[in-house]
Symmetry: C2
Subunit: 211 residues, 2 copies
Amino acid sequence: MSQPDTKTRILDAAEQLFARDGFHHTSLRSITGQAKVNLAAVNYHFGSKEALLQAVFERHLLPLNRLRQERLQQVLEAAERAGRPPAADRLLRAFIEPTLAFRQAHPNNRAFIALIGRSMVEMDSTVRDCFSRLIEPLFRLLLCGLQRALPQLPPAILLTRLRFALSAMAHTMCMPDRTPLQIDSSSAPLDGGELAEQLIRFTCAGLEAPC
Amino acid sequence: MSQPDTKTRILDAAEQLFARDGFHHTSLRSITGQAKVNLAAVNYHFGSKEALLQAVFERHLLPLNRLRQERLQQVLEAAERAGRPPAADRLLRAFIEPTLAFRQAHPNNRAFIALIGRSMVEMDSTVRDCFSRLIEPLFRLLLCGLQRALPQLPPAILLTRLRFALSAMAHTMCMPDRTPLQIDSSSAPLDGGELAEQLIRFTCAGLEAPC
DNA sequence: ACAGAATTCAAACGATTGTTTTAAATGCCC
DNA sequence: GGGCATTTAAAACAATCGTTTGAATTCTGT
């Protein structure tokens, strides 16, 4: 069993630890310790801790975003052809379902999705700036689609509601690993698919509420 | 103009910096620098940085939570007397309106509410554990009320939706100072009251969505 | 097999952190 | 005003952080 190369081992360890402990609470020493590589390997292969974060993001987020963008555009074009506005829930689905599919494709992917969820609500500018550059075009496309789906909503209201929706999304993505709002844990937790359905239903109802 | 005493100056500075930069990214030196007190004063008056965080929380959160609990119980008792289940939007209002009123009562209070918003979505266990102990009873009361308001919802579903709602709330509270999901900033931002109304409408629609 | 490039390694660097220490200053009661 | 407790002040503490260094090692192409 030949181990993956140093770069990949670092990316895997960083992804997992960034997701679990956050960027600033994860030291290079803990990353290189888990990856079983030398401390200096991070700066040698990636240049800096921040560049490592960007590499962790780009490794999976670029392909995932391509998928989500394609799905979004399919929905928009199908609506165009039918001469109708797109349905809000289809737009949300185009956004969420590829994410869930990626998460369930491999056990290791769970950490990455949790990291994305964290990053969506991250207050630290280092992480957020790095993440925003990668995700903003997609958010913009989603907003644009929702404007057509819900033309009766003033843009400022829609934007506000989209922020609400994305907040709920973010927590759904990082909740499974560590629940931030732990009110009660008596009832059995929902599995990923059911959780996504609940999320779509909740956000859809919120977005479509009378104004 | 006699300045407030050392303890209060430290609390004020810590509140503001914790809200702006987060607990771990705020150094005691920056706090004592802004408060114009000596570095050792924090450990002398509060014991530790963590104890300072707790003091910052308790100073305003204890009175605010008392208010919110009273409002919640008023709604529950009024519904009891009328022999009807309480309305979900009244419960949410009992939770949100005192928060907004506190925020608008004094300019300095904005930082505190932003800190509370941050803490609701905080992943770091130091901050969250400290905050959770103070807020959990209130969340539990809200959940209990919503269970009566929406008896058709299975408890697990309601809990999931309440988490969605609280996520949206959290971001609404810390958004004004620094927006975490900055998709677009073209349209004029909503003021506090309008934002709270939108939040109530959105979360209400989401909570009451068919199951 | 060997030169040269690429990678790994142990060690140290400078900066920053929360905390502690020891002494000086201040306020307060008798 | 003297004596005592409280508060402030400056300095140093030990620990951790990201990063750099320079030599040792491994890999690669001919």
